[in-house]
C-alpha cells in the first residue's frame, strides 16, 4: 500500500492503495466512478478509455502507481453542472452530437468512444473520416454502430463531413 495523489475530473484525489491496482478498478471500485466500463481487460476494446494527462489510455492497463501526479479525465467529467444549481448537467458538445446522430446503441462502448473522441477533438482533429477512424481504432462497438459514432465526432469537431 502506498499513498497516491492525482486529480480526477479536476477534483484532487488521495488514495492509499496497492500500487499495481488498475486505474480502472480505482475509478470504479474505490472512487465509485462507474461510467468507465470494463470490456476485455486486455487493451483490445477501449471501453475503459480515459484521458491521462490529456491522452487516451486504456484504464485496464495502467497501474495506479503510474498515475501519481497525473490528471485523469473520465466520462463523468464531460457534462458540466452549475454549482448550487438543481438543473440537470449540460452535456458537452461531443455528448450532444452523439445524441443528435444516434451515436449510441447498447451504450457499453460509449464512454470510451466519447473519451477517444474528446482526445481527438482536443488535439485539433477535424471532420476527417479517415483521421476519426484512426482515432477510434482502439475502441470496439459490438453493435457495429461506427458510422453514427464517426458522424458524431465529425459533427462535434466542427462540421458534418457529408455537408
Amino acid at each position: 500500500m502506498a499513498i497516491y495523489r492525482f486529480t480526477v475530473n479536476e477534483s484532487p484525489i488521495v488514495v492509499d492503495l496497492p500500487g499495481m491496482r488498475r486505474l480502472l478498478d480505482v475509478l470504479r471500485e474505490d472512487l465509485a466512478l462507474t461510467g468507465t466500463k470494463e470490456g476485455c481487460g486486455e487493451g483490445e476494446c477501449g471501453a475503459c478509455t480515459v484521458l491521462l494527462d490529456g491522452t487516451p489510455v486504456d484504464a485496464c492497463l495502467v497501474p495506479i502507481c503510474q498515475v501519481e501526479g497525473c490528471i485523469v479525465e473520465t466520462v463523468e467529467g464531460l457534462a458540466s453542472t452549475e454549482p448550487g444549481s438543481d438543473l440537470p448537467p449540460t452535456l458537452d458538445r461531443l455528448q450532444a452530437a452523439f445524441l443528435k446522430t444516434g451515436g449510441a446503441q447498447c451504450g457499453i462502448c460509449t464512454p470510451g468512444m466519447l473519451m477517444a473522441g474528446r482526445a481527438y477533438i482536443d488535439a485539433g482533429g477535424g471532420p476527417d473520416d479517415d483521421a476519426i477512424r484512426e482515432a477510434i481504432a482502439g475502441n470496439l462497438c459490438r453493435c457495429t454502430g461506427y458510422t453514427k459514432i464517426i458522424e458524431a465526432i465529425a459533427l462535434a469537431s466542427g462540421q458534418d463531413p457529408a455537408a
Binding site: 481487460g41 487493451g43 492497463l61 482502439g138
Partner: protein, 291 residues
Amino acid sequence: MGIEPSVTSPRLLHDAYAILAERPVRPIAGGTDLMVALTAELGEPPDQIVDLWGLDELRGITVDSGALSLGALTTYTEIRRSAVCREHLPVLVEAAATIGAAQIQNRGTLGGNVANASPAGDTLPVLLAADATFVLGSIRGERTVASSEFWPAYRRTALAPDELLLRIRIPLLAGREMRFRKVGTRRAQSISKVVMALGWRDGEPAEPRSVAAPWTEVRLALGSVAATPIRARATEAALEGRPPTPETADQAAEALAAELHPIDDVRSTAEYRRIVAARVLHRLIREAGGW
C-alpha cells in the same frame, strides 16, 4: 484483478539498479503486456515489481556518434511524432503506427517491445534489419548487445536478472533503404501473422547503363514466423549483390519460403505464413525495382 503484487516506483536509475541487485524483480514500463498477463493470470505472477515509468533517464530520442538513440521508455506515440525518427528512420515510424491503436501507442514502449521478447513484436524486425544494438545497464555497469544476439530462444533475452534495457541504438548508414510490412487480421489492434523488415544499400552498377543498382548489405528480418524474431540469412545471401529485378524477386521469394519454418497457431497457419512472407518479400522487391 485478484492479484496485486507489491511495486516500487524509483525515480532514479541508480535506485532501480539497487532494487534489482537485491533480488529478481519484474520490471514494468508502459504495462501494455504485463498488465494483460496479470489480469488474465497468465503464468506465475511476480510477487514484486519495479515500476520504470518514472525513470526519465530512459526517455528521449537523440542522434549521437552516428547513431539514432532511443531511450527504452520511448513510446510509440513519441516515435510517431519525432521529427528525428521521421528523418533518420521513417520505417520505425511506420512500424510504430501499426501497433495497437492510440491507447496502446500512448503507453507501449520500444524498450518494452524489445524486453517482452514476443516473436510477434512489431518493431523487432525493424531493429534487426537496422543492425540495432541494445545498451543494458545494472549496478555492475553498462554493456552493449547486438539485436541479432538478444533473443536466444522463445521469450528469452540476453538480459541478466539484475539488468535493465536502457537505450536502443541504430547506426545511421548513408543511403540505407528500409521497408516494413505487417500482415494481420485488421489494420489496428491486431497481432501480426507475418511482419517483415527489409534493408539494403545500393551498390555500384556492374555496367554504367544498368537500370537497377545491385543491393549490398541486405538485411531481411521477420517476426511471427519462428520462436523469436529472426534474420533470414539464406535469403539475405540470395539477395546480396543482386539488383531488384523480377528474376531476383522470384529467387528471393523461393529462398525465403524454403528458409522459413513457421508453426500453426491460433492466429495463422504455417502454410499461410510461409506463402505470405514470400509474397510480401516479392512485392517489396518489385516496388523497390519499380517494375
